[in-house]
């Protein structure tokens, strides 16, 4: 790991911790306590979890947040429509979808994100490459929406996606 990337990781974590302290302690910020604590905590975090290969691009966060908020709204609306309909229109299926993102942090974020997006739920990951997804309606393009989320995360983390085939029922 390059020295410069360790320094930038330290500064990023320090920034996050200072922001967290500011939020948690409210307007009566006691910086004489918070500042040394953040400096030590950032050092400890660097020691416990060294910076990985994946760099989060802060300038991409607003774009991802907008995508996420809109999709959450659609997801809640979709569940509400199905729940409130007397016929209970569900066509659940477990699909196996090959991952285009590299294993590690991007894949973990993908698994958490798609569980909050319309009609998909992460069930199991096989060897970091194939994700079992439970979907509420297999007649929809589930693989396509997973792929869209992968593209969003690839932009957020600056990683390359692998070429894969399409998902198929298990």
């Amino acid at each position: 790991m390059h020295r410069s990337s360790r320094v930038s990781a330290y500064l990023l974590r320090l920034g996050i911790l200072l922001a967290a302290w500011w939020i948690l302690s409210g307007s009566s910020s006691d910086w004489w306590f918070g500042l040394p604590l953040a400096i030590i905590a950032a050092a400890v975090s660097l020691w416990l979890t060294p910076p990985g290969h994946f760099l989060l691009r802060p300038q991409r966060i607003p774009g991802f947040a907008a995508f996420f908020l809109w999709q959450s709204l659609l997801a809640g609306w979709d569940v509400a429509k199905r729940t409130l309909s007397p016929a209970l229109p569900l066509h659940p299926e477990i699909l196996r979808i090959p991952m285009a993102l590299p294993p590690g942090a991007p894949t973990w974020w993908l698994m958490l994100t798609i569980s909050l997006l319309p009609g998909t739920l992460s069930v199991r990951l096989h060897r970091g490459r194939i994700l079992e997804v439970h979907c509420l309606d297999s007649r929809l393009d589930v693989a396509g929406s997973v792929r869209e989320t992968e593209e969003q995360l690839a932009r957020l983390f600056r990683v390359e996606m692998r070429a894969t085939e399409h998902g198929h029922p298990s």
Binding site: V79, L84, L88, L90, I94, L112, L121, S122, R124
Partner: protein
Amino acid sequence: MILIELLQALLLLAGVGFFLVGTLGILRFPDVYTRIHALTKADNLGLGLIVFGLLLGADSVPVALKLLLVWGLALIASATAGYLVARAARRRGVRPWKARNWENG
């Protein structure tokens, strides 16, 4: 001012509505996998709407950010919980429910 309060009321009531939907979902949906869908999606959106409703009345920036932080943590907690329960059910061999008229659907 009255407009903000109206928007706040709308967001809060919509939030509660989605919480009700989530609960109705876990009562109506046929198996554990579909119930996790109902709970993670509807309840998290409900919490988000309530958070944004309260945000409009927040009296300082740290309070507003704290509300967003709580929502973020709740989202991560809920998505992790949903995944863990689904994975545990799958490992244990809990069969997913399937629609009966599959071929026609």
